[in-house]
Homo-oligomer: 389 residues x 2
């Protein structure tokens, strides 16, 4: 139920000593073809890690035959040496696959992803031997090992599959903090054995991420390293339509995104902010993100407090079309606010469970969007103050 | 050292029973003239509390003779009844001052400010008798009582004075959370016995708030009730130039803004984000706010972690002119980042004290700005999750 579920892929995850814990920290995903088409989405952060700058070039080349990923260091803000290290990692991966696996592969066919602390060089004396071990460990059922090797503060590995008639889409993901609009510290590798050209893959991936990874927000912080890769092997010999492919990729992205939010650092609540009645979808997204990113709203939910006033105050900071005296707000189905003022008794709201649904009706139109977020807890503060990450 | 330091003002603060604690919760500031000119700045939040909507009209009228303020309830998101309650409060204040103090005053001369929980109607049966008591308690040295009566989660009352030759500016402020760019849950009343027309007061107040209250950010949340009022009595018979008046008002605003940040909910650090070398002042402000509002930066400082990588990641989310490989960052004087990569050893940074200075040099131009903020602590989460506010 992972990246090696679609035919034509092998993967592995090994411990190279990058993590002080000794846990697995180098992952490899290889596309054995016959196709090597690919698409990618990267962080919108203008401070981009070396592996992001590298992989942007690789995907422009139109072929990805392997993805090498490491946890234990982001290789971000590491200057020209950091870029040389990423280049060396791709070179070493390609040459090892050529010599030991007889693959026809050059460094320009190898995407690189890194995650961990910003601002420190990677220990190449550990990473390169780790790549050797990862190549040796490649297996047709190695996807779950790869998912484990990219974990940082994640508490569980994230895997997903969408199966179709004769073909499938699989994925792995990591990311537990820095989840934000326009991606977050997430590394995601999605595979499919469908046959599709680069343009089709790109269209499917952008359509999928727009309504999944781009609509989760754990702490409003945008990472330097976010990467979502989609690799197609064509090994199923099926060629789904763009609509079929988009639906399957979206299913995997949605599942992985929900796993990310569920496992977000310190979260005690899984909160859906559903904005309805918006004049435009962009308005609905803007309002949802504003509420999802508001620390006072997030601390209120941590305290099981149905504080709809803080929700209205967050809506008020947006440029969306609305009139303050026409907004309705429900929390877990109780309409605590009608026409911008108190309505049903807030004490009727049951916040004892983990799942929270906030519904905001702007009464301006027909469009809607949902943003998923978490609460702001003591555990979040602890995790992000006690350790550098 | 408060609003009653300038000549021509009386003030009071009384307990009306709005706060469950029984602490003072109704304040009154009266301008005894001979001038009654005024200026004001209000929240940019599009969801505005009833007293904000009311006071916006009052200040347009050009005369403010009294300001009545209450804590214990924001009167925000309270619909048409909330606005009628604000109107009734102004009516009652004016009629009580007319009948018991022989003042020539109508409701349109009375600004109203409220702070506390959003979404609940004020208990008018307690507030109006409180106004009577506040009128009765008016005193030429009552400013500090007024400052105490507007406190919510503030731990100390905020007062300030700037003295000049023959005239002065005084101020009171409240606000401890929801401090954000473009004002915050802050109520501020500034007085001066200088003589100045409304246009001069408006110019001085906007110039002062732009570089003081607009440059502090405790938790990125913008309030529905923020109000900064400037009242001039002309009682000193001095007419300072716009530059002189602006300097004195800025001095008081800066002092009060620093008091607000020092007392911000749960803060253990007082952090100055100084952005230098910016192409424009707007770029410097945007970068400073992005860093100041970043939860990962704020939790790092709570943990005494000089995590400059999180600072660069926050800079990267802005549209300011910069090149990632030219940015320098110092924390408390140690240049931990040069040219976008690690420089001096981060272990040299001493974060044991309360004051933190982050210096970011973009190397794009000559302009700069400083944003003041706080860390994100367990106490912040506790205060904002354990109580509705």
């Amino acid at each position: 139920m992972t990246v090696t579920h679609p035919k034509g892929f092998r993967a592995s995850g090994v411990a190279a000593g990058l993590k002080p814990s000794g846990n697995p920290d180098v992952a490899l995903v290889v596309n054995d073809g016959p196709d090597y088409t690919a698409a990618a989405v990267f962080t919108a952060n203008r401070v981009k890690a070396a592996p992001v700058l590298w992989s942007q070039q690789v995907v422009k080349g139109g072929v990805i035959r392997a993805v090498v990923l490491n946890s234990g260091g982001a290789n971000a803000c590491t200057g020209s040496q950091g870029f040389r290290d990423t280049h060396a990692t791709a070179e070493h991966t390609a040459s090892t696959l050529r010599t030991t696996k007889k693959m026809m592969i050059g460094p320009g066919d190898v995407a690189v992803c890194s995650t961990g602390l910003i601002g420190e060089l990677l220990p190449m004396d550990k990473l390169l031997p780790g790549v050797n071990a990862a190549v040796k460990a490649l297996a047709a059922d190695g996807g779950e090992q790869a998912a484990q090797a990219i974990m940082t503060t994640d508490t569980v590995a994230k895997n997903s599959v969408a199966s179709r008639d004769g073909w499938s889409v699989g994925g792995i993901a990591k990311g537990a903090g820095m989840l934000a609009p326009a991606l977050a510290t997430m590394l995601v590798v999605i595979t499919t054995d469908a046959s599709a050209d680069n343009e089709t893959l790109d269209a499917a991936l952008r359509a999928a991420t727009r309504v999944t990874f781009d609509r989760i927000d754990a702490d409003g912080c945008m990472s330097t390293n976010d990467t979502v890769l989609l690799l197609a092997s064509g090994a199923s010999d099926r060629q789904p339509s763009l609509e079929e492919l988009t639906a399957a990729v979206t299913e995997v992205c949605h599942d992985l995104a929900q796993q990310l939010i569920t496992d977000a650092e310190g979260a005690t609540k899984h909160i859906a902010i559903e904005v309805a009645g918006a004049a435009t979808e962009a308005d609905a997204v803007q309002v949802g993100r504003s509420v999802a990113g508001n620390n006072l709203v997030k601390t209120a939910f941590f305290g099981n407090d149905p504080n709809w006033g803080r929700i209205l105050a967050a809506v008020g900071t947006t440029t969306a079309a609305f009139e303050a005296d026409r907004i309705d707000v429900a929390i877990n189905g109780v309409w605590v606010c009608r026409n911008g003022a108190a309505a049903e008794d807030r004490s009727k709201v049951d916040l004892s469970g983990r799942d929270v649904r906030v519904t905001i009706n702007l009464h301006e139109g027909e469009l809607n969007a949902t943003i998923w977020t978490t609460d702001l807890s003591h555990a979040y503060v602890h995790e992000n103050s006690a350790y550098s990450s």
